[in-house]
Amino acid sequence: MNSIRIRHIAAVTRNFLLAAWALFALFPIFWMVLITFKSDIEVFSTTFIFSPTLANYHAVLFRTNYFKSFFDNIIVSTGAVLVSVAAGVPAAYALARYDFKKKEDLAFTILSFKFAPEILVILPLFMIYQKLGIFDTYFGLIWVYQLITMPLLVWVVRGYFEDISVEIEQAAKLDGYTWYEVFWRILLPLIKPGLVSSALLAFIFAWNNFTFPLLLTSFNVETVTVASLKYIASDTVHYGQMAVAASVAALPEVVLALIIQKHLVRGLSFGAVKG
């Protein structure tokens, strides 16, 4: 009886701690959503009891070009992830399968792109972009986003390729498949969990990025992260409108994460071929 009671208490404690953690983690988001319904005055004077208003939504969604920023963000983030997948998967395959000089150095260099703070390289990049004429273009932003989307993808997918034994590929070749057929029919399904989860993370990195679009774009291309700055006026900060911009901006990430939640955890923590 005693051991059952201990287990019971343990379960209750565990759940209590998890619930406390969830509350702690979710409260800022809840608070942000709450603010979206408050007028600027009530932001500072009320906590839970206030007269809700949709004025902030109206102001942000209809009276500014928020949607334009939103779609710009979708274009550059999706574009960056697609380029990363198209270039990163072959790169990961090469790093996993072939032996060449300085292989580990190259792999480490790719990873090291994520080490340096973006602000460190932004000034030379700014000048290079001005000279090349890709300042304030979709292409320019997608290109520079490779610095933040590619490394993770390459490293995760490389691990998946390394887990697939060479003999599986060889068996498929002997079965009469060409290299491309081997890739699409055998390799791709096996790396899928890793590819999906790392691509999603890459998308989130790109979506949330602030430094690059702030300094490498101006009027043509504008992402939501940069657009949110507009609600800081010279005399006051429109917290309500800013909260609306941030909440709407977070929506795609939340939806994507919920859809592939299972893949996300498993994809980053397991290998491809489990016996």
Binding site: K173, L174, D175, T178, I186, P189, A272, K274
Partner: protein, 383 residues
Amino acid sequence: MAHISLKNITKRYDKVAALDNVSLEVNDKEFLVLFGPAGAGKTTTLKMIAGLEFPDEGLIRIKDEIVNVVPPANRNVSMVFENYALYPHLSVYDNIASPMRSSLYKESEEYIKEAVHRVTKIMKIDQLLDRLPSQLSNGQRQRVALGRCLVRKPNVFLMDEPLAHLDAKLRHFMRAELKEMQASFNTTTIYVTHDYMEALSLGDRIAIINHGKIVQIGTGSELFYTPADEFVARLMGEPEINLIDGAVSEERGKWNLRLLGRKEPVTLPGDIAERLAEKNVSDVHVGVRGNDIEYSLEPKGDGWFKGSVYVLEPIGNRSILTVIVEGVKIRIIAPNDFKSEMDQDIYINFHIADAIFFEQATGKFIVRHKQEELLREESKCLN
């Protein structure tokens, strides 16, 4: 249905030669066993023929066509990998169907269905068709891998230790099945193993490979009765052959052998003496197998060696008796009802008529009593 030929194949990995000037002819419809210790180059040889590795030097021919630069898919060979190499995301059915779904060897789905069912029935895995490889035991995975190999009609079957991971009972069963299948498939097969029982039981011929070189190619009885050197002699047979130091000398027209530094000589039969005289060797290793040694717990008179029992291991249908004579351990096969104490005195006698003579310095085969007659009779028995 094809003749396979390897000519002067050399393959190096970082200057270490995995295969060193290997030449090998495999006849059409022949079952050739590649047999040797781990790291000898057996798998490399198979992968060369499959086109998964490329030789640094030499020519590979399948059906008299040089295939050195033909990609693996176009060679129409079928291979079982030692680690199974099953597709983890496909069911057993789809795994076995895979070779018939490629653009190169495409078959209709009805044909595939029939072929898969035929093969899985033989392999006794027809109840597992919907499972994934991760839901199978090692023995079942190996049978799926075999099934994927046998479902095709290739130029040659390449099998890399396909029975290595099965338990003893299933291995024995599958060995018999494979032999039966080979007879009905009638296709050239190259089979890699490190189990001499499999080699002897399955192979039409056996190629012994060591350190990337082919040591000897021959039928099972050739290898067993007249091994090319001590290495081959040691590989064949359980317990391992006894190699005993002997000194040969000619005295008054007779050739005498003194074993284990003994004074009293044994007179050698004429054909052995002749070969030894030809070769002009005086120091030999005499190879005697465990069942060619008499033993007795009572003293037996001249020519017998006195020793003491070192250990007696009963292994079911027989026992292996290890005896120490003059500081040398001799392994003898005894019936399983034989009883003895440790360190008990024992007397043994070697059958020189069944012994194999090797040169002591090089370990090369010299002669065996009546070797030609022996092999002739063996081949008669087989036919």
